[in-house]
Symmetry: C2
């Protein structure tokens, strides 16, 4: 198509409200427009990209016997009552009533709808296994949408649901889906996506994986072992930290520590190593406001997901008042109020003498040794693993922490939903059984934005050819020059005739610099420049967006050269795609 | 794919809650499942059909230079405040608040979102004309969803918006879109869709057309002239009814008509022709409850859309109490209370002496002549045209009334939205102007259901090949017979290898009758039956769903025969598609 007709404006200035590059570039390039908090419209450029991503996803879902269906965006609350999630999910679930005061929700995920669709169909074991998927809009009422398409409230998602008669069969299918996901990301030009074990959160179930595209601006922390290849997200990574060589036991003393409310204050006041200090982080249970105190070594952070899983319910940050049983700033594990529920992290194990709050305004203990002073002490894993920590898999001190964007996830759900919603089948022996489920998600818009984040330069995205809005960007640098225009027009026709997707910039009176800026912002993999200067040598210039190719090509060979280059770029992506097993 | 793996159950019994055939067949055939009031999930069979419809729509929208975009389902209320529709639209617009108490709506149409997307982009006349479209979910909180996918609350719709610098340019494009719509319905196998002039309703603008698929169960009434081809929907059809040869004037008399509250009561009591009576229908204005009285001839009905347009605001049915200025059952145009706003229909013009309420409990006038007795009388067109009425176009008494389902609509919107939302461009002379808009809708799911309604028999849908879920339905009647199974398997592979879309029923132990019932419910255009009996003659049986072809074909020719038949069926559809101009 002609660039002059393309809907969407491109501009130079980085919008002030864009924190990450991909967001800024996609706004500057006319990809998307903000409609409300975390809500965007897609211009044609982005729509072309997401359509190609959706096509790749469909290919791979179909290849693992997925059948495409469509669930509604708006669901009656009854369905979510059945699963219990109408109550259990927080404000991210948008609840409202319709004109007849019926309670409805905007679906943020479709496990309930999936079970609803198939529970009459799949009443015999002979129907299993099967998988259904959809590509559909979802709404998640995020408290803090951010980073453009990375974290929005309304989004297009591919969500798939598989149903099985045994955990083994689920695992077999889970592996197939795992491979299919790899192929999706490989075909979309991001073969370097890594999978990490993850926490299942509100989805339920046990085993789950996230697909992470590594980028310094990612909002997730990923734990990677450089030795054995272990990978997990921060929420799921076990901390196996061991305190060694802590020296001799000291005497327990209660010392005055005036105005020392933070662990750093205390350690510098007492000239003590923060690695020998005990930090308290206090929460309250959502259900009854009981205090939950998490103790970790002073230089560690509490992993709230792990804590929540151990406590077994939802928590919020504590409000400690003068009437509370706890003394803010001076909380320690020794002599703490009985009313508080206490969890002591593994990072505190084996410290010979440590500094900890004395549960008394203005005082801390020194020389505390938990094994001696709290004989019944039990340790829990409630801290975040750190760079250089011990790998929970191979045991070496080889843990690195990277940042990534989650571009997909897969879950083994077990029977959580089928049991709650009364979906059963008759097995070979005539017994009623609950099917075992898996679910598998990919955010389409987020995937586009993540690819932009991972592959861009200062001037724009560098789209992989498989998902680029067009394959070739043709610039006619002087449309007012008859020969130049004629050559460019003919090349446009030849390429289009050969089935090449071309965006053609034949605008008159636009300077080359502005044309190239536009081309950079559109990020099309192959650029062809027709100009009077090149034509003097009977050539056109062919450059790839990633600068790996830059050649002068004779006009008469241009079309063939570009087609060949295009094929090579596709081949470059496809050679990284795992073969079907 | 194998039928044994197809998700969705088929069954024999017509569900009690299905009023129209298409609804019953699509539930019985495993096409859709009800999730809530007017909300459905689509099983794979329907999803395949809607995907094909969407593909046809995209082809035609792209062919008229449309650019695909995507708007959100959830919109901030601000946008609808800008257009004024947040206030003006009724309960069909679902309004709610999000977690931060911001007012939101579920978009039921996207004019506001379209203007929002392009108003910065299109600030110069050089950008015009252009058209953007999307295929997206919408939610309309219908009071009475019904007829399956025909009238639902959540639906997939293609909506397109064009922008122009003049009414003439809009009209030119409107014509192109008109043709594109014809081609869409022709390609989808329903070339007999008719267009009718329509009322623009809440969309605003003047000229609009609806595309109607004629069927006796359609919920719309369509006015068609058998002479000149004039077509309009009931809401838009002008009633040119003329009372002729009414005889001499009579004296105006007030007569007692005890207990005659309906027009039929009065006419039979007075032994008067209902065609010489005057019927009152009373409304109140939504804004201030002023009574609005519509008078029509006793045998005509009020056309509420035309009345509303003339009154210029929304109305509701009146509540007349003892304190009202009107006397229920005895309301007439002569001596009616000044407080009421009165509209007199053209059907009352020229009646020499008529019966009408006397605005007095228990009394009617006879011999009323409006021209004589109400010298300043003005007539308005507020009645529904009837079978045999005068065609407003050619003037002959040749009007027929048919029923139809609206499968698409196109509107000339003018500057309603661009003015309200402050979208302007600079014209050739540097002057600021408001662009002129058109909008163009097609409901995807409704189109599928309408086609089913128009083309089905007692046993199932008869899908046109262009939108059928598969092209060929292959039945292996005795999968336990080795030769039969082998022949069918090979044919399945051959056809799939040739790119034919095949659903293959190789279930063991299913009776032929049940297999054929399933095939009828899936409505696939070509059925191929492999059975031991046919194989005795070295043949397979090939039948089309519409029974126009039924042949025994030698096994070795079967694949070629089926492919040729398939091509013929496509050609049969495509020969009815208008060529591009």
């Amino acid at each position: 198509m002609k660039l002059s007709k393309l809907i969407g404006s491109r501009f130079k200035e980085r919008p002030a409200d864009c924190v990450i590059d991909s967001h800024a570039l996609m706004v500057r390039g006319g990809y998307m427009k903000n409609v409300g908090n975390g809500i965007y419209s897609e211009f044609p450029v982005l729509k072309k990209i997401t359509a190609k991503i959706e096509k790749i996803i469909r290919q791979e879902m179909d290849a693992i016997d997925g059948q495409e269906v469509l669930f509604p965006v708006v669901l009656p609350a009854d369905l979510w009552d059945e699963s219990g999630r109408y109550e259990s999910v927080g404000n991210e679930l948008l609840r409202f009533t319709d004109r007849s005061d019926s309670r409805m929700v905007l679906a943020m995920t479709h496990e309930e709808a999936a079970v609803h669709l198939v529970r009459e169909y799949a009443q015999s074991y002979t129907k299993y296994p099967f998988m259904i998927y959809q590509i559909q809009r979802k709404f998640r009422d995020e408290a803090r949408p951010r980073a453009g398409m990375i974290r929005v409230r309304e989004f297009t998602m591919k969500d798939a649901y598989s149903f099985h008669t045994s955990q083994e069969d689920l695992e077999k299918y889970y592996d197939r889906c795992y491979q299919a996901y790899n192929r999706i990301f490989q075909k979309a030009g991001i073969p370097d996506v890594v999978t990490v074990a993850s926490d299942s959160g509100m989805m339920g179930g046990s085993i789950s994986h996230e697909y992470m595209l590594l980028t310094p601006v990612g909002e997730d922390s990923i734990v990677i072992c450089g030795e054995c290849g272990y990978r997990a997200n921060m929420e799921a990574a076990e901390n196996k930290m061991v305190n060694e060589d802590n020296g001799a036991l000291q005497e327990l003393e209660c010392v005055e520590t005036p105005d020392c409310k933070t662990i750093d204050d205390v350690c510098s006041f007492l000239k003590s190593d923060v690695k020998k200090s005990c930090k308290a982080v206090v929460y309250q249970k959502n259900s009854n406001n009981t205090f939950v105190v998490a103790f970790v070594r002073g230089d560690y952070e509490v992993n709230e997901t792990k804590l929540r899983n151990i406590v077994g319910e939802e928590l919020h940050a504590a409000e400690i008042t003068e009437d509370s049983c706890l003394v803010a700033g001076y909380i320690g594990p020794y002599n703490i109020a009985q009313e508080a529920e206490v969890y002591i992290d593994v990072t505190l194990k084996g410290i010979s003498g440590m500094v900890a709050g004395a549960n008394k305004e203005g005082y801390h203990y020194t020389g505390l040794n938990l094994e001696r002073d709290l004989p019944s002490v039990e340790y829990a894993d409630i801290s975040k693993i750190q760079e250089g920590s011990i790998c929970p898999c191979c045991g070496k001190k080889s843990i690195a922490i990277k940042r990534g964007i989650e571009v997909g996830n897969i879950f083994q759900l077990g029977t959580k939903y089928t049991k709650a919603m009364g979906m059963q089948y008759t097995d070979e022996n005539g017994q009623m059984q609950y099917p075992v489920m898996g679910c598998y998600g990919i955010g389409v818009g987020r995937m586009a934005a993540s690819i932009c984040e991972a592959y861009h330069d200062d001037f724009g995205p560098v789209w992989p050819i498989t998902i680029a809005p067009w394959e070739v960007h043709l610039c006619c640098l002087r449309a007012d020059d008859a020969e130049t225009k004629e050559t460019a027009d003919k090349l446009y026709q030849d390429l289009q005739g050969a089935g090449v997707e071309v965006i053609y910039d034949d605008r008159e009176g636009v300077r080359p610099g502005a044309m190239f800026s536009d081309a950079d912002l559109l990020g099309v993999p192959v650029r062809v420049v027709v100009s009077p200067r090149n034509l003097k040598e009977s050539c056109v210039e062919v450059v790839t967006r990633d600068k790996s190719v830059k050649e002068m090509v004779a006009v008469e060979n241009a079309s063939a050269f570009v087609q060949e280059l295009k094929d090579k770029l596709y081949a470059g992506v496809y050679e990284k795609v795992e073969p079907y097993l």
